[in-house]
Structures are given as structure tokens and as C-alpha cells.
Symmetry: C2
Subunit: 594 residues, 2 copies
């Protein structure tokens, strides 16, 4: 990756002119649904042969030249009318924002806020929730047989019928994370019958990165294909950063409320209480967080099961909860209060991401007793959540060697009634720090083929430090590869069209089309220009495969066209063509490597 | 990758001082066999806890401070005495080197040679071959029940008994590529019961790179773990470049003789003849090429089978042979003369790598009739080769979606009597030019788990241009990850020790040990230093996992140690410990991400 790849949201906007849109070979388009406000964004790639290819697009209005975006104002609330029209939610005063929400125990009330004038300056808003605590979730609607505009939106996006979307959500096999307080999102769905999704983690910490950087990381990640973004901030300005991210995010935002709760008690796990946690969940739900990781499966009796592990507990949330359980020698307050938590999440349509706090942190610890004990509890919690109509997905590992991966997805699907699995990698070996996007991309592709619905990316910096924007891009691209490889292997309808379009372009030496169809057009173009001459003729000579001018293919294609199917006919044609070939004095075009 | 990673063989030599060896945390060591000249190189990593870890080492004498290496002299002929002692080979005058061997049809006899004073200046040598054409192959010895020094060497290297090595070679399930004219190599073995191996391609072309660059690429690739190197040069100085590479290579060298043969007929496939090809094979065998890709499976009747493919024939060798077959409307001269070719290869112990000239070049073409028709012929040719005691491996695809990978290895193993499979990737999607090391690394890991013995690397430049040294490194590292992930999944004895050692170091915050145990210590260290403070205390605070100071693990470990195995005992201990924990006022150490 080079610095050329790094673009701020501002530079994304710079590209919005019609001219720029044309020169880069694609433009933002919309597929219209049954009503004018259901407009599904797509990336329309224009090929030099006059055809076009339509690709799934996660980049939001930022790549639409006609959209007037401004990070200080936030995105338009696309879903607001849908939510209001349902008539089952109400605005209310909401929880007052407190200094400690931004970690001001550590600093002066405003002194800690950095950049973008700190507090989000966009339109004033009041939080919204289900009337008298009723479940206003996509799951509840789906179970009642309703197809919401959100469901229609994702059906168009996935190229399936809205009824399939409704069925999968109703059965709990898919989730559509869409907090009623996050009307800015373009709805998306997570489930094994749909395209495999990718999550990118962002998040500031006490020593690095500003609010502005986090907002830019979010738009950067979605530009390259992130389907959701988790804000894992742990440092200062945690509330304000999240507000900026939410108001500008076209994709669902996930969080781990426990991280902020821990900040509120100055990092002392034993001082956590259910009340502090609950208050934090409400705070985040009112802001619009679409899904929350909840480590309610880390139960007191499971902690001793980690005693003989090589790397103990490696999940931050898991270790916080284990520390709390040990300090009080009590069952987890998350497990004990899970039903009340369900009621809160149902009122905002926050989706559960039941965390795997006891996931293995090394090859040696994969698929052990602690991990599977927690998984069993997640299955139990999943059934409780469903009673409250809360959409639920299940998080998975971690570090797992290839031969132990399938057991993870098979057990999860069985134990959790086919709830969507959301896995971190898994990393297939421990020996390659600085390349864990690759060690984990391998495992991610495999587990997604076998049924994982969403993959949490891993960047090259995993285990070593905080990812910068190059790392975010590398992580997203690697995981889009894994996800798409899985879509192909699952035989997802339409997935192969993308590969076919690129392979056709390759076969026909349409280099610009290859670049524009590539997951990362910039780097593909840069690599090509680095070593290959620009003139078309030389390009043909030094390409690493044989193109249309290569006689054997051309001749055999001609033959098949001319002589139909039977082997004898084709062979007769070949004898004929061989004479023409010799007469024409054709020579083989030379690729660079076998 | 940054320029810091780029090291020439000269800079490798600079590191040879004892002091440098210590500061980088590892040194070259040797495991001695039954005789003093069987000395197997290993990489001994010294941990800060006083322990050490022994890793497989492919880097050759260049990383041995006590070895006096000079690329102008070449490496010492380690195997020479073993070969002479067998008494079944003879030196002979050899084929005279002709101007056209270096492609001088295109240039003046010497004018084309660049750098390093062109012709290799090392010790004069005469070629060697089996007396009166007898088979002097490791396969022949293994079948006679002989354990050669080469077999003992690889047994020590792989940590198995020499008898296992002999058995696997005798059964044709493994090859030990070791031309009698390449005494410089440190023997290695390719077979599914052994560690998965990685090949790196190098090779100049008419417009890029000099002889010197190719020699440096070879030492660079082996430094990062390449087990064999293929010289795919197609431009000028093809003979001389190969001589430099062979004389300096500690690993087996593979080639595609057809490439040089085509140069000799000025790139006109139809002018190729069996005599020109045979002469080229002898030329290369006399130089010491250890294995040769032979596309003898591209038969005339299979060419029409590629007519309806999306990307036709993408193998360079395959397309050359298809062009020849079409031009003459004759059966392939490689197929027709295969037995004579076997006699030649047997006399030098050149190993066959039966090429997959009809491999798929796109997802759409995977596992098609053309591909599997050729595979069936490769099975037939494998059996012929074995009659002549020629060691044989089989090349495999290519572009294959994940769900079609297993069929490739299963069919190959069945059809080719378990001969070692040597695959290029496979690439699991076509949509990511510039990231095909990753699209293919996924497929490579999977197919190696299922039995592929050697993986041919793919670099980020695949489909786009010629790899530079950064690309070579990235390709090798990616494929070492795939190979090791497969070794783990196959349960290769000892493979997990490496992961365990690194995970232990991670758990105990031994950062230097993590770096030194990493596949790429330089990049791991660089990434760490980029974002994390250097002081040990801060390091602990901001690591992305929970370390030994984290109470829950420590406490539960203590408990397990103190109270033994039963759940009741542990729980009792936990109650006790929870009080101590509270009293100590411990707080959770905060990793950066969940």
C-alpha cells in the first residue's frame, strides 16, 4: 500500500464531478423499489465494450456526485419516514449526556475533545424508542408477516425476493441491524443465505487518533467495502466520537458497551455494576448503535476452564467479565440480567452480537472446553433474546487451525438454532505477526463458505499495534476476498458474474475494465503501470496469460462455432484450421510466466 | 513492505558477525547425521527465557557466519563425494555451449550479457551422468532399499526416520529432486507425509532484470523460506543466468525447458522439434537443473476441449504445445517421445514436474473436461516415468473456487498413484488483481491440508507484471503461512511447537521472542515499534491481548496449580482467590481491541 491509497472523505467528495466519475470507469446508481424512497445504491462499472456490471455498494452517499454531504451536518435520515410511518415508536427526552460519558474523569470537561469542534454540530435530535417498551424490531415485524421498507431494500440489494428476506429474519437465521435512532443507514442483512458480510473495527484510544480520524476511518472502510463498522473506542471522547461516527455512517455501527462502562469506573472491573452497564447501553441505544457485543456467556463456572490454556482469556470483554466474576465470586451480572437487557434492546431494535469472551487466543487453545461451554450458553441466551423479539447473532473465534474450523460453525449452527455466525478470522496459525490479515483471511474464507454470515476483519497490525488507514484498507480488501470466495463456493446467485466479467476483460486484454472491476482498482492499475509498457501492443506481449490473439484458443473457438458439438466434427475442423494457422505464420504471444 | 526489507546477498553476508547473530536472536546451527558430512542446517532461535526453538532453514550457507561464500565462486559442492562414492556416474565432455543457448540470435555473442562479468567464473566442471545411461535416481536407490546420504539428510531435516523417507520415495509418494550435476544443494523432500514446501518463481525477460538480479532474487527467496526456486527466464542470457543461479543455489532449481527451446526457434512454436527440445533438456540437465516442467499432457485431442472456455489456455507451456499440435495437426512431440525423455532424465536424476498446460485460468473454467482429460494423461505418463525410475510430481491449478478444490487433489492422488501434487495456488476468485497472493493463499492452504506436497507461490503482481523483490518476499511469506497452516491441519509432528512457542512468548509479553519467532521478524518489529511505546510497562498496557499480569488468568492458573483437577476444588479455590483479588486492588490490563 502506498500513500496514494489514502483518501480522506474530503477527497472522496473531490471525485464527485461527472467528469471524475467517468474517468474512473464507474458511477453510483440506484435501483428503485416499490416506492420512490426505496433507492438501493449500486456501483455501476462501465466497460469499454459498452456493457456494464452492477456491483454491491457500501460506500454511502459520499461517492454520489449528486449527494450534498457534509460530515458536520451528517447524512440524511433515509429511514426516518419509514420509522415514523410504522407509528410504534415515540420520541422522548432521553438520558442526559454526562461528562463521564466522554471519560472526563480523566480530563477537564471540554479539554479532552479534539478536532471537528468536538460536539457534533448537526441537526438537533431526540431519541426514539418503542411505545411503552414494545418490541419495534425487524424480527417482530417479520414474525408478524410484515415486509418493511428495510426488508425490501435489502431484497433489492441482495437480488432476492422480499419474502425470502422476511422468512430468514423471522426464522432468526438473519439479522437486519437497524436501530430506530440510526435512520441514516442504508439497510443491509446478515445471514447465511445472503452475501457474506465484512465488519471493520475502528476506535480511538487514550494515546492515538482523533475524532476526525475515526470518522475518516469509517468512510474509508466503507469505501473499500466494509458492510458494518464497530467503534471500539476506549479512550477519551468516547460518546462524542460515536456521535460523529453514527451521524455520518451509511452502514450499521456496532459497539461493545462494556468498554465504555469500564471507562466510567476508571478501568476497575470490580467496580462495574448492572446499573452502570444498563445506563451505558441506553446511552448508546439512544445514539443509534445498531448492534452491541454482549459478553453474557462468560459465566463464573467457566473461568476455571481457562486455567490450563496456553493464552488464557484473550477477549477484552471476556477478561473484564471474568475479572468481575472473580472479584465478587458471583455469577455475571450480564447473564443474571439478560432478560431486562432484552427489553431495552427490543425497544430500539438494537441487535445482539453475543460475544465469545472465551474464544481461543492461540492454536493450542482452539475448540476447548471453555470455548464450547460458553457457546452452549450463547445458545441459551439466543433463545431468550428471541422470546423478546431481539435480533441476535453469535460471535465466534479466534485462533483455530484449519481442521478444527468446521466444528465451530457446525456446533454454532446447531446450538444457536442457525442464528447468524459472526467470526473473527479465524487465524489458522500463530507464527506470522504482521501478516495476520492473511493467516485469518484463510480461515475466514473457509468458515464463511461453511456458513458464517459476517466476518470481522483482522488487519496486518493485529497483535502489534493500532491499525492506520493503510492497514484498514488492507484488512477490508483481504476480507472482501474471503467473503467473495465464500459467496462463490456457496453458489450465491450472481456472485460469479463479477469473476466472469473480470476474466472476460482479462481474456480480451481490456486492461481498463480489469482495473475498474478489481476490488482495488488503484493498486491494480499502479502495479500494472509499474512494470508493463503502456502501449497496447507491448501490453499484449507481456501479459501473464494468453489473450484473444493467441491462435490455439481462437482457432478452437472458431472450430466449435463452425462445426458444432461432436468430437469428430471438431477434429476435422482442426485439421483444416492447422493449415490456415501455418499459412498465416502466426506466432505465439508470450506471457511472462507459466 | 518497505525498502528496509530489501537485502542483497551482500547485506546478508554483512550480518554474519557473531555479534549480529546474537543481536537478531537466532543463529545458524547444524544437526549432525551418521557421518560428519551430513550436516543439516537449522535456524536456532534463542528466547529470552533461556530456551531455544529449532526451525527448518532454507537460507543456505549465506546465513552462516563461518561459511565463506562468494557468488563468483559458487557454493561448495556438498553432495559431490556422495555422488562419486556411489560409483554409478561418470564425467564426460558434455554438450558444447552454443551461442543460441543464450539467445544470441537476437544479439551479438557477448553484447547481450549483462553484469557480474557475464559467464560464470567459478571452478571448471564437467557434466556427470549415469554410466551407460543407467538410472541414478533417488527413486532407483530407494526401490533397491538403499538409504542415501540425501535421504538421511532430509530425514534429519523433517525429523522422521530415514526409512520413512526411503519408503515414501520408493512408493512414488515423494520426490527428492537432486540432479547429479547440482551437488551444491542441501537435500529436501516433497511429499504429503512431509512438511508442505513452497516454490518461488524467478526469471528474467527480454526487457527487465539482469543476471545479478536473478541470483539475488534466488537468495532472497530462500532467505524467506522458499524450498525450491524455478528459473522461468525467457529473455536473453538464459543459459548463463541459469548457470549463475545453479552454482549459487542451496535449493533445487526447476525450469521449463520448453521456454528456452522456444527462444532457440525465435518464438515460433511451429518450428519446435523434438531434437531441439531434447538438446535443451540435455543442456539443462548437464548444468544441474533438478526438476523440469514438461507439458506432455497437452495432447492434440484435448485442444478442442478448450474451445468453449472463458479464458482458453493460460499456461504458457500449454499454449506453446497446443499451438504446435495445431500447426502440424500432429500429436504432441513430448507425448510421442516421452519414453526417450525418461531415459535422459533418469541418467541425471532430473525429476519430472508434469505440467498442467490445460489448467483453468478463471473460476468459470475450473474442473472442466479439458483439465481432467490432461490429468488422466499425466497419470499415464507418471506410470511410464516410474518404469524408468524417474522421480515424478504432478502440477495442478490454477483458478478454482473453494468448493471445487478438494476434487482436484482427490482425483490427482487417485489418477497419479499418489505422486506428489504441486499446485499454483489455486486462486479462489478472479476479482482481486494486485492481491492474488491472498486469493491464492487461501486455496493453497486448503489444498495443502488435503494433500498437496508443494505450493507454487503467487505474488501480488500476478496478472499485472513482473514481481520485484518486495513482491517475491510477500509471495514467499504468504505461501509459508499457507504451508504451515496446512502442516498444522495435517497434524504434522512438531509443527505446532512453533505456534506454541510464539503464543507462549505473546502470553508472557516477551516481545523480542515474538519477533524472532515470527515468519518475518523485521516487519513484525517495525509494525510494533510504529504504534506502541517502547517502554515495557506501556507495552503491556496497550498490547492487543491480555497478558500474564491479567488477573483472571493468573488467578485461575494459580488455582489449578494449587487445587488440582476437580471442578469442586477449583471453585472453592476461586472463592478464596476472589477475596485476595479484591484485597490487592488489581485492575484489568487494557488491550486495544476486543
Amino acid at each position: 500500500m502506498t500513500n496514494k491509497d489514502v483518501r480522506t472523505p474530503a477527497s472522496v467528495q473531490d471525485e464527485k464531478s461527472e467528469e471524475a466519475g467517468k474517468s474512473i470507469g464507474w458511477h453510483k446508481a440506484y435501483v428503485e423499489g416499490s416506492r420512490p424512497d426505496v433507492r438501493v445504491p449500486v456501483r455501476q462499472v462501465h466497460l469499454t465494450n459498452g456493457q456494464s456490471v452492477t456491483l454491491y455498494d457500501t460506500s454511502g452517499p459520499y461517492t454520489d456526485p449528486s449527494a450534498d454531504t457534509d460530515v458536520r451536518r451528517g447524512l440524511s435520515p433515509l429511514r426516518e419516514n419509514w420509522i415514523i410511518a410504522r407509528g410504534d415508536t415515540e420520541e422522548y427526552a432521553g438520558r442526559p449526556v454526562r461528562p463521564e460519558d466522554d471519560g472526563v474523569k480523566h480530563t477537564s470537561p471540554r479539554g479532552g475533545l479534539r478536532n471537528l469542534d468536538a460536539v457534533f454540530p448537526g441537526r438537533p435530535r431526540q431519541p426514539r424508542r418503542g411505545r411503552s417498551g414494545q418490541a419495534v424490531t425487524q424480527l417482530a415485524y417479520a414474525r408478524r408477516g410484515e415486509i418493511t421498507p428495510e426488508m425490501e431494500f435489502v431484497a433489492l440489494r441482495e437480488n432476492v425476493s422480499p419474502e425470502v428476506v422476511r422468512e430468514e429474519i423471522a426464522a432468526g437465521r438473519a439479522v437486519l441491524p437497524a436501530n430506530v435512532n440510526h435512520p441514516e443507514i442504508e439497510p443491509m442483512i446478515i445471514g447465511k443465505r445472503f452475501l457474506v458480510k465484512v465488519n471493520a473495527n475502528i476506535g480511538n484510544s487514550a494515546v492515538t487518533s482523533s475524532i476526525e480520524e475515526e470518522v475518516e476511518k469509517m468512510t474509508w472502510a466503507t469505501r473499500w467495502g466494509a458492510d458494518t463498522v464497530m467503534d471500539l473506542s476506549t479512550g477519551r471522547n468516547i460518546h462524542t466520537t460515536r456521535e460523529w461516527v453514527l451521524r455520518n455512517s451509511p452502514v450499521p455501527i456496532g459497539t461493545v458497551p462494556l468498554y465504555q462502562a469500564l471507562e466510567k469506573v476508571d478501568g476497575k472491573a470490580e467496580e462495574l455494576t448492572w446499573d452502570i452497564y444498563k445506563d451505558t447501553v441506553i446511552e448508546q441505544a439512544e445514539q443509534g448503535v445498531d448492534y452491541m457485543t454482549v459478553h453474557a456467556g462468560v459465566r463464573l463456572p467457566y473461568v476455571p476452564l481457562t486455567a490450563n490454556r496456553k493464552t488464557g482469556i484473550v477477549s477484552r470483554g471476556g477478561s473484564i467479565m471474568a475479572a468481575w466474576c472473580l472479584a465478587h465470586h458471583k455469577e455475571s451480572f450480564l447473564y443474571e440480567n439478560f432478560e431486562e437487557l432484552c427489553e431495552i434492546l427490543a425497544a430500539y431494535d438494537v441487535t445482539y452480537s453475543l460475544g465469545d469472551g472465551l474464544r481461543p487466543g492461540s492454536i493450542a487453545d482452539a475448540n476447548d472446553e471453555a470455548q464450547f461451554a460458553e457457546l452452549k450458553t450463547l445458545g441459551e441466551l439466543n433463545r431468550i433474546a428471541k422470546r423478546f423479539h431481539v435480533q441476535t447473532m453469535i460471535e465466534g473465534p479466534g485462533h483455530v487451525p484449519m481442521h478444527k474450523i468446521k466444528e465451530n460453525i457446525d456446533l454454532q449452527q446447531e446450538i444457536c438454532d442457525e442464528a447468524p455466525f459472526y467470526t473473527l478470522g479465524p487465524l489458522t496459525t500463530d507464527i506470522a505477526p504482521a501478516y495476520d490479515h492473511i493467516t485469518s483471511g484463510i480461515g475466514a474464507a473457509m468458515i464463511a463458505w461453511w456458513g458464517t454470515a459476517m466476518l470481522c476483519y483482522v488487519t496486518p497490525k493485529e497483535h502489534l499495534g493500532l491499525p492506520n488507514r493503510d492497514d484498514v484498507k488492507t484488512g477490508v480488501i483481504t476480507y472482501k476476498i474471503a467473503a467473495h470466495a465464500a459467496d462463490l463456493a456457496k453458489g450465491h446467485p450472481g456472485a460469479q458474474e463479477w469473476d466472469d466479467a473480470l476474466s472476460d476483460a482479462r481474456f480480451e486484454f481490456r486492461w481498463e475494465d480489469q482495473f475498474n472491476l478489481a476490488l482495488d482498482p488503484d493498486t491494480a492499475r499502479e502495479f500494472h503501470d509499474e512494470t508493463l509498457p503502456a502501449e497496447p501492443a507491448k501490453t499484449a506481449h507481456f501479459c501473464s496469460m494468453c489473450g484473444p490473439k493467441f491462435c490455439s484458443m481462437k482457432i478452437s473457438q472458431d472450430i466449435r462455432r463452425e462445426h458444432g458439438g461432436s468430437r469428430a466434427e471438431i477434429e476435422e475442423g482442426m485439421a483444416q484450421k492447422s493449415q490456415e494457422f501455418a499459412a498465416a505464420g502466426n506466432r505465439v504471444y508470450l506471457p511472462i510466466a507459466d
